[in-house]
Symmetry: C3
Subunit: 421 residues, 3 copies
């Protein structure tokens, strides 16, 4: 995963353009990915697909002709969606187009101007302070023309048409945690799931933020009812504990699954309630859709100093953090896959587990966790409690409860009913 | 408001009699007030309107003919509803009729005997201890005769027949916080509301405690269903933080409005659950009516040392406390007036606020509170969440959320549905 | 109760056999008890009634012919349900059949092998360490033959067919807290209830653990719907505070009654949620029955060092603890008996309690608890709140609220509706 992040880092992505297509092409080498496109000018709900933005170069040269700001050195130096410009001007004239972070004077900020025609350059505040007055030459060699919005989609069909949606944004330029980490974890999860049997169908979306998910929802409106669970994946490579932001519903199965898995994962974690600010969960949770889609992060957007700056780089993301994030998602998938209700075939009193070899012999003060899980599953399997309900009530890990259920199914003591509605 | 308190202070009110009528006459100079009357002997539910009590004078003279207790000096010196008496007796004979507060020896207690024929006088315990044995002359120049129970009513019709009830008791003699403060705040709130457009109708009741509200409910039983929200107002002039006592329902809109407004008012406040002891909320919340009427106080009745003593005087009530209480009620009224549900006209994905001039341009880490409120209102406006629901879920002040809703209505992004049922 | 414990202590009980019958015979001298029997080999749900086990003697003799382990000295020395054995063997051969507690080296453990043919002896670990190598003679003079499973049942019919079930296990040998304490408290509660008028019918079960309750449920399946409330009684003689383990439903009336009574009992107490491990509540709460049966204990099974050892003896159980447990159960019975809903006959406004002699005269800052309870009962008696609901909401003891209700019934202010469903 870290190698994928490293490989994608230099590409200058935006919400449209070659950067996104190059990124999707790389992912396609790892997973089966369909690349979709929607032409500029297409109306998608309240929005219009913008013109396509591409950039070759951008710089500011001083009087000596030296590049004092150079896009070739860092993609963040140019404000995304800057219109082309080529002009000479004094520093005073240039200054309104220069963006810095006075409180973090060594870092280049990340700025965009998607829906308002403008141009700008970003640089460390320290550097701005050291620029001498005088004349400069500025060049933004970009194009803003009719073209396409693109996204990548990887559908892994399962036994059920019901889908699990995993969505990550692919529009940020050289920022690692936000969101090359989400892209990498999603890609590797898709690769694993593609190789295993699946009850649910899994749909991975690699979409430009906001406009991409809106365009996808617009085109797929008639089948969003199939989405039973969903997660937006972002900022999964830093070293912080996990943060799960609940769906708008707040108590959807995906919310309860994450709450359970995080409580048992051994890493620090935090649950935060839904709010309509953040990533593409904003769109999935808009009231007309109200999909049960939460957002899994480590550090939370806007709450860490490296956020949307050049410090969100290859050092900020750690291979072991990516691995731990992927492992957590594996646990989530196991819960979603295995969570269902059972009905006891022996509802009156306990079954004699001992006779079936499911119970240790001599009575002592200890009972093993798995046996306890079997007692819980037998007791709660009246067709109304899912294994996740049982795990939560019993305070036991889901995997133990699911293992108990497998043993009891094999012992013909319970039988699966429908998955929870 | 403080001037009104000062002006009403000397009047000897009781549950019937001239004191109440004089008080209502003063209020009538400030607000449109209908004065109602019910004759003595009228049955009102389980109760009977008592005879009317009036008092001209009351005193105890010592052997030298000096007034050692003198009603002219303080209305609390006489037990309210004392039957007339004129007699000479020894201190030993007099003593059972003398009421003091041994733990607060400098204060005159407030005592009543409405429903049991008796007479008595109240004085500081210190004074009682210093009275020499010997003969005294006692006079209570009162009358207890058929007459009327009175109350004042100020109805301010609004767009809706649905009413907000604001009730305060007017039966206490020279006690400032309990309840000249409630009377003053209610009067000035009525004056303000009379001058403004109103969605709800507002009904202000100035009623003698218990028997007054019972008589009003008896006479108005057929239209109590119009009362959508209500507050009993009392003890609003002292310097303590606010206390809101919930209605019997506990989660009525008025309860939620007060909880919200108090949480954002900047002053310390406390919420207490309903109990069937207190002021006229006891009657409004009786099970046959079960009206959503809470009680707003600063200090709680029975819980502060000045309660029902001569220390509840013009010093105990502060002009700035009265002003702050009125300001709080203004906020409550704004919540009730503006709280309604909206339905999004753009339910699928977010609207493009930027295109409508509702969103700041360059993406940064800060988003202004009002923009956040707009996102919340858009996200939650599916016709089931009121603005108060949204404000509570978002943790934002109601006024900000209401302002966001106004902007969104203007932008044709939401439309009002019915007010919450 | 302590004398009964002392008298039952020496008997070697098991899940079948003479020990249980002798125990039931002793109880029959105190309360009307029917003794039931089910033959060995009878299928009861998933289980089969085992053969009957009886034991006359058991010992291990050393080379000198001295009894180094002697069942006559303590019934715990033999593993319950040990098959007969008579053999000479070396200590090495004997050792797999010897059970000790290395962490509690002075105590004899309690071990059983009901459903797996085996034999064994239990002894203090200290003693095992001191046994010299060499040859020993071992004898278990037991029988394991077709016979019966027995239990005792005491039904006290009340006005209603609805039943309160009180169940305790009678299968443990010389262990005092677990469960001679439960047997003694149940017996004396039955004796008291037999002498008093009863609204509910009370059914006391003295059953061998697990197989006994299963057999009872099997035979009485058609009438378990009559069980409105139930408690398993165990470990009620030690000095710890009370522990109540909720029923599977968690909020059944019995759960709420215990929560209330424990909160007001003055002793420390703990509430724990249902889990499917423990005593016979496991069977009563199996999903096919789902009866509202909790479990009342002092120390919790498995959580105290004396549990299932020879230290659970006549010193561990205290007469005053047994008495306090019985007193607590009396309070629980009072709640169950008196808990019902009332409807106000005076729902509009408060009644004038004073006119009925139910209210103290002169208004002061104090109101007595009983008057407060009357106000609460009047306020809440709309037919939907039981007295227990009211007591909980008011924070008053149930007995006070019930006394208030009696006064209000007498004053014709409320009337009983049906008991809570």
């Amino acid at each position: 995963m870290y190698e994928l992040v490293r490989s994608l880092y230099p590409i200058c992505r935006s919400i449209t353009g070659e950067g996104v297509r190059q990124t999707l092409a790389q992912l396609r080498e790892l997973i089966p990915l369909e690349v979709h496109q929607v032409p500029s000018g297409t109306a998608v709900f309240d929005w219009t697909v913008p013109r396509e933005w591409n950039i070759r170069d951008a710089w500011v040269k001083n009087a000596a002709g030296e590049r004092v700001i150079d896009f070739q050195r860092h993609t963040l130096h140019v404000v995304s969606y800057s219109v082309p410009v080529r002009a000479r001007m004094t520093l005073t004239q240039l200054r309104p187009h220069l963006h810095t972070l006075p409180d973090q004077p060594e870092l280049i900020p990340y700025r965009t101007s998607y829906y308002q025609e403008d141009w700008g350059l970003c640089l460390p505040h320290r550097q701005l302070e050291q620029l001498p007055e005088g004349e400069y030459e500025v060049c933004i060699d970009s194009t803003l023309q009719d073209g396409h919005l693109n996204w990548g989609e990887c559908l892994l069909p399962g036994e059920l048409e019901d889908e699990v949606l995993l969505s990550c944004h692919v529009c940020h330029p050289s920022l690692c945690d936000d969101n090359l980490s989400g892209i990498a974890v999603a890609t590797f999860l898709a690769r694993e799931l593609a190789a295993a049997p699946r009850r649910y169908s899994y749909r991975f979306l690699f979409v430009p933020g906001t406009i991409g998910s809106i365009a996808w929802l617009h085109r797929n409106q008639a089948r969003t009812h199939r989405i039973r669970h969903g997660l937006v994946l972002t900022c999964l490579g830093d070293s912080a504990g996990f943060t799960y932001k609940r769906s708008r519903r707040g108590e959807a199965e995906i919310d309860r699954a994450l709450e359970h898995v995080l409580a048992h994962c051994g890493a620090p974690s935090e649950l935060v309630d839904f709010s309509p600010y953040g990533y593409d969960e904003r769109q999935y949770n808009s009231p007309g859709f109200d999909l049960p889609v939460g957002c899994l992060m480590r550090s939370q957007h806007g709450c860490f100093p490296e956020y949307h700056t050049s410090a969100d780089d290859l050092d900020f993301v750690r291979p072991e953090s990516l691995a731990q994030s992927l492992a957590l998602l594996r646990s989530v998938v196991r819960v979603l896959e295995d969570n269902r209700c059972y009905r006891s075939l022996n509802p009156f009193c306990e079954p004699q587990l001992g006779r079936r070899g499911l119970y240790a012999g001599l009575g002592g003060t200890q009972i093993r966790t798995l046996q306890m899980a079997m007692l819980w599953v037998m007791n709660q399997s009246d067709g109304t409690h899912s294994l996740l309900d049982i795990a939560q009530r019993a305070g036991l890990p889901f995997d133990t409860v699911a293992e108990a259920a497998r043993l009891l199914v094999r012992g013909e003591l319970i039988t699966a009913t429908a998955p929870p509605a």
